[in-house]
């Protein structure tokens, strides 16, 4: 990609010191205005198509143990503008190539009294604004401690927000849709129980935050390139409707240890009057550094199955035995232990999944509960909880690898840390080497429960550094990482495409923990997925869990057609078919779509979108002329109207439509669906009903002459 940077157009011009400065987006739709207020406080505002999106909002940082903060008494001593335009190709993605075009304004501020400089760098794209704080090398600002970042996002009114409560330890909440003024009143109700949670304010929310204004503007607030900095929440002043950054602190209340030269992550504001453009935005990726991995040939999108849903649903167990009150790795002898008989990760069961994967064209098999330690893995603040290399007696690592290999299937490793991150880092090299020695190329890591490292939570700077450390070390071993319960992604997968997946939101597992809202999946692409792909683990066909797990009264709030659509609407280079082989075998015609659907794309067209209500997207499978469409629908039944103009002119295609049955409903009748085939061209139109919590999926295959 480097050469593109050189060919990019640079035009530097040094201007007079001015206290107000405007920046226009390349397409002219956005205007950002930087203003230095009377007391020397930097501020900015943002307009889109002559509408105010962000009212004048203060910028700055409050420092700890420093006589003076970086909040005011600044003067502008330098102003630089720059235009940039490049096109780059992601290793995997929703599209084959991404245009990175923006106009840039860099304001250098000087605080006379302390003789300290900071730079505020704005990048205005055709779909929104990104800005960050930069701390250049200088005499009087070398090491400093952040008490709080004071970045404001002043709203123009009492917008509708699609939000989850701010929390230092979990992101796995259902989304609440409400006016900004209603957040305070709904905060407690919005906090469903979690194994580890730490909230901080009744008006605190997480990013990426989706908003809609009364006059139809869609606004998304998030951050990009979160590296060596603590994760940002937003706290709302609900008198004035002003959001302010709220960084995640450590036990001492410290929100960041900074050494100059350094910079903050980008603060991002994506805006459009068309919700589909929010979903199509590549601004977050563009604000991250280009790929730092030279050889990316080993990074491959993949569909997988695995020994997972049966533990989540309660049908089987991660642990091997019930004999021990506790486990001491290296001391407890499992070879002599009496198996509980419920252990999911046993050779026979794993082979069943390998056979199923091979028979149906899945590239990988994930197995959880394969390694010693699950008998007491959680809730004991246990330091040495797993060693990541010692399997249970009934899990034959080498044998299963050989078996999988003979069937052309890859095993996917699982590393649950139970929050014991020092222990994980101590074993990381051995664990990754063990994976390579046994033919594993991808790992699903987990951080369930409280962090076992005094004073840390899931999203403070120290932990953000840990997740990054794991991804970069994995890259050294050519290992792909799919991190669960880690900090929410911020587009880092551009720089480290071996980060092929994250959970960092409420995934399918919650359908087995009491269920999620039926419109949850119409919100994830507007929120969590703004930062990168999600390992949502869709594909559940058996919605009544009590049928196979008597003690589980949960119901999956989704129709089968909706589950199929998720493979297209929830973009990820890593997609699981999460249900049991026997459940797929009950519905072979529906399962056909999961077998057919691609996981890597050359084009994506968002056809319909409204947060909380519906999303319809068409994607072209990379390296083919075939398309796949997904539609997910919210609470109300709805007729989706789309056309096929995206198809190649003059070509004929066979479209197989997997739709909700007439009586389908996510609760009362989730398994009612029908499959039909029609012929389509680029002039075809489709009017298709989607049930409540339903949707449809379409495969469009070019007709062979």
């Amino acid at each position: 990609m480097k050469h593109l940077l050189y060919t990019a157009l640079f035009c530097f011009l040094v201007l007079q010191s001015v206290n107000s400065q405007q920046l226009k987006s390349p397409n002219g739709k956005f205007i950002m205005e930087f203003t230095l207020q009377k007391d020397g406080t930097p501020s900015y505002s943002l307009n889109y198509k002559d509408k105010t999106v962000i009212k004048p909002s203060k910028l700055g940082l409050e420092l700890k143990d420093d006589k003076k903060s970086l909040l005011n008494d600044f003067t502008v001593i330098d102003t630089k503008t720059n235009s940039f335009d490049e096109t780059w190709k992601p290793v995997w993605g929703e599209v084959e190539s991404i245009r990175n075009q923006y106009n840039e304004l860099a304001i250098t501020l000087n605080q006379k009294e302390t003789d300290r400089q900071i730079i505020i760098r704005f990048r205005l794209f055709n779909d929104g604004l990104g800005f960050r704080y930069e701390f250049p090398t200088q005499k009087n600002l070398v090491y400093f401690v952040i008490k709080e970042e004071r970045t404001q996002f002043a709203m123009t009114g009492d917008h509708t927000a699609f939000w989850i409560p701010g929390d230092y330890d979990t992101q796995e909440y259902d989304y609440t849709t409400s006016k900004l003024s209603e957040i305070r009143g709904l905060a407690e109700k919005a906090k469903t129980e979690n194994l580890s949670q730490t909230s901080f304010s009744p008006t605190g929310v997480q990013t990426s935050l989706m908003l809609k204004t009364a006059d139809g503007l869609y606004i998304n607030l998030h951050e990009a390139a979160l590296i060596n900095y603590s994760c940002m929440h937003l706290n709302l002043d609900d008198k004035n409707m002003v959001f302010e950054s709220w960084l995640t602190p450590d036990e001492k209340g410290v929100k960041g240890y900074i050494q100059a030269p350094a910079h903050s992550p980008w603060r991002t504001i994506i805006v459009s009057d068309d919700a589909r453009e929010i979903l199509a935005s590549k601004m977050t990726l563009n604000l991250n550094d280009p790929c730092k991995i030279e050889d990316t040939s080993w990074i491959k999108p993949i569909k997988y199955v695995g020994v997972w849903w049966e533990m989540i649903s309660g049908k089987s167990s991660w642990s091997y035995t019930d004999e021990f009150p506790s486990v001491q790795l290296g001391v407890t002898d499992f070879s002599k232990a009496k198996p509980s008989g419920t252990h999911g990760a046993n050779n026979a069961n794993v082979k069943k999944y390998i056979d199923f994967a091979a028979a149906n064209g899945f590239g990988g098999v994930l197995v959880e509960g394969w390694n010693e330690g699950w008998e007491d893995w959680f809730g004991h603040y246990k330091d040495y909880v797993f060693d990541f290399v010692t399997p249970y007696p009934d899990f034959d690592v080498k044998g299963l690898h050989e078996y999988a290999k003979s069937k052309g299937v890859k095993m996917i490793m699982h590393h649950e840390t139970s929050g014991s991150v020092r222990n994980y880092e101590r074993h990381m090299d051995k664990a990754y080497q063990f994976m390579k020695d046994n033919g594993y190329d991808a790992v699903k890591s987990g951080y369930v429960g409280s962090i076992i490292s005094n004073g840390d939570n899931h999203y403070n700077q120290f932990m953000v550094n840990h997740y990054q450390y794991a991804v970069e070390k994995a890259a050294e071993y050519k290992i792909m990482v799919n991190a669960h319960e880690a900090v929410r992604p911020t587009g880092i997968c551009r720089t480290y495409p071996n980060l092929i997946g994250n959970e960092a939101a409420r995934g399918t597992e919650y359908q087995a923990f009491g269920g999620s809202k039926p419109n949850h999946v119409t919100l994830l692409p507007f929120t969590r997925l703004i930062g990168g792909p999600m390992d949502y683990t869709p594909g559940i066909f058996e919605m009544d869990l009590s049928k196979f797990s008597p003690n589980n009264k949960s119901h999956v709030n989704s129709t089968i057609a909706n589950q199929l659509a998720l493979y297209v609407t929830l973009y990820s280079p890593l997609q699981m078919a999460a249900d049991f082989p026997e459940h797929y075998n009950k519905f072979p015609d529906a399962f056909q779509f999961i077998k057919d659907v691609a996981v890597d794309w050359s084009e994506s067209n968002y056809l319909e979108a409204e947060p909380g209500q519906y999303i319809t997207v068409a994607r072209k499978a990379k390296g083919t002329n075939n398309w796949f469409i997904g539609n997910v629908n919210g609470y109300e039944p709805r007729t989706s109207n789309i056309n096929f103009a995206f198809l190649e002119k003059g070509k004929k295609y066979t479209a197989t439509i997997y739709a909700d049955g007439k009586e389908a409903n996510y609760k009362t009748n989730p398994q009612a669906y029908n499959v039909r085939k029609i012929q389509v061209t680029n002039t075809s139109k489709l009017s298709q009903l989607s049930a409540a919590g339903g949707g449809y999926a379409i495969s469009i295959i070019e007709n062979k002459k």
Copy 2:
């Protein structure tokens, strides 16, 4: 050693449940009595030669988040006694073989209400008592959190104590001698400044604590085998003169996360009416597990010199340049930086030390400040502060190794962590491998400043585990460890003899930081050294630092003869000759003793001892018939009277006596000494004057026929 365990005499007898139980030491001098108080609180008392040493003292643990603690409501459900006698050979030590003889009493207590059992195991030796809490595998006590250990040591009166203030982050205080009742009033004055310190109570003191009673009993309180537990302090109830254990907490106030089966470290009480027996006690080692390293052939005692005192004294610097406001490893380019000209670890200077070591028979050369990062290594809460493998441009790792090798000298590595322990653990494997690749067999590690890991201090359980992790991992690489600023030793060097040294007390460096009390070295063997050898770094000949480091007004409070004696009185398998070659060259006759003295011994005879006043010890060099004597003296000039009965009958020896000059004084005339030779046999006697802060050293070499 195993076979010795088998030959040891075991006699188990299960007794009736009794609420009072006596245990006698093998020599009958000690009687320990266990009593269950009315409310079911376990307690113990200790008698020595019919004198009470410890009055009835409560035992137990207070638990956190547990409905009931492990303090009372116990009943005795089992009592076991056992006698043990073995002799084992340490890899290195003060003596060639150690007898481990004790009578044991194990009381199993049951807490009816909670149906939980704990065992209190007492081992009564001929020189004192050790006991610990054991938590066997059981249903109702698996994982638990310690709020506080409630172990009491009830004194019989207002004893004289030789103490340093309790602190979670430093052990580097001068000792204060006072009555127990005076501790509270002296606590503040006793706290000299340190780079990292956290005190907790005006009557909190550290172990090993030395005490003397009015009727001449010497009592030492400490712990043995501190593994996976937090370090114990003692807090004094100075109304009742009762010490109680005070464990080191983490940021959350937690003092221990325990998983059964587990046990506490041993709590030790060494007692004698002869101070020399306290110094000769091997109880602390005996309470540790036998050596766990199979092949110990690579573990070798050694005398060394190094590039260290010149930085400590301020003559030169650890850092390479003054050019950078801060360093970013891998980014900052030192090859282009302007050297400050004061960098001590440069090739020419290191070669000077290698030449000096080779010329004078020293086995090793330590070099501090060899690796990038010293420009901003301290006080910035800097995570990635060192990588432990990147030398400064003027330090040629391979070249210097080759040069040293050609002269038969070993280089000693230095790993300063600056308290950034996660960073150290991340680099540990690479760092140790780098050492082996470059011929280094030993590392001096450092933990200066606050621990950079949220909520940890130097001595809590999490950090105790770190130091142990470093020692065990070093053993995998056949690397010897000399850890500075780590938790005070508790005899673990028996189990891991590659832990050849620790600082963990106020070392010679403080003679350059304002000076230490002249009787400091008469206390270290009674306190800090009870747990294991100390890398005190003696051998300073130039006491007036301003002579070579103009800005340093410190004075070394010791005579040259005292400095020589330290090589014998402060036992360590690792002894540094800390001063500059040029200073040794000024006093070649005195330096001769440092060249001659051994570092490993077959016998040790403590000839005279009184804490705070004087220590005289004679040691036989392992594998020879030669002896070395050291005498250190406190504030008052004193005539030491010894005889040579320890010499082999009928043999003649030449004794070279390095003594204080007539006018010698640690302050006014520290460099006045004389050297004389006399002939001695096992019937000889010596009367020798030692100056204030002085002493003498004697080498006794058998005459060749």
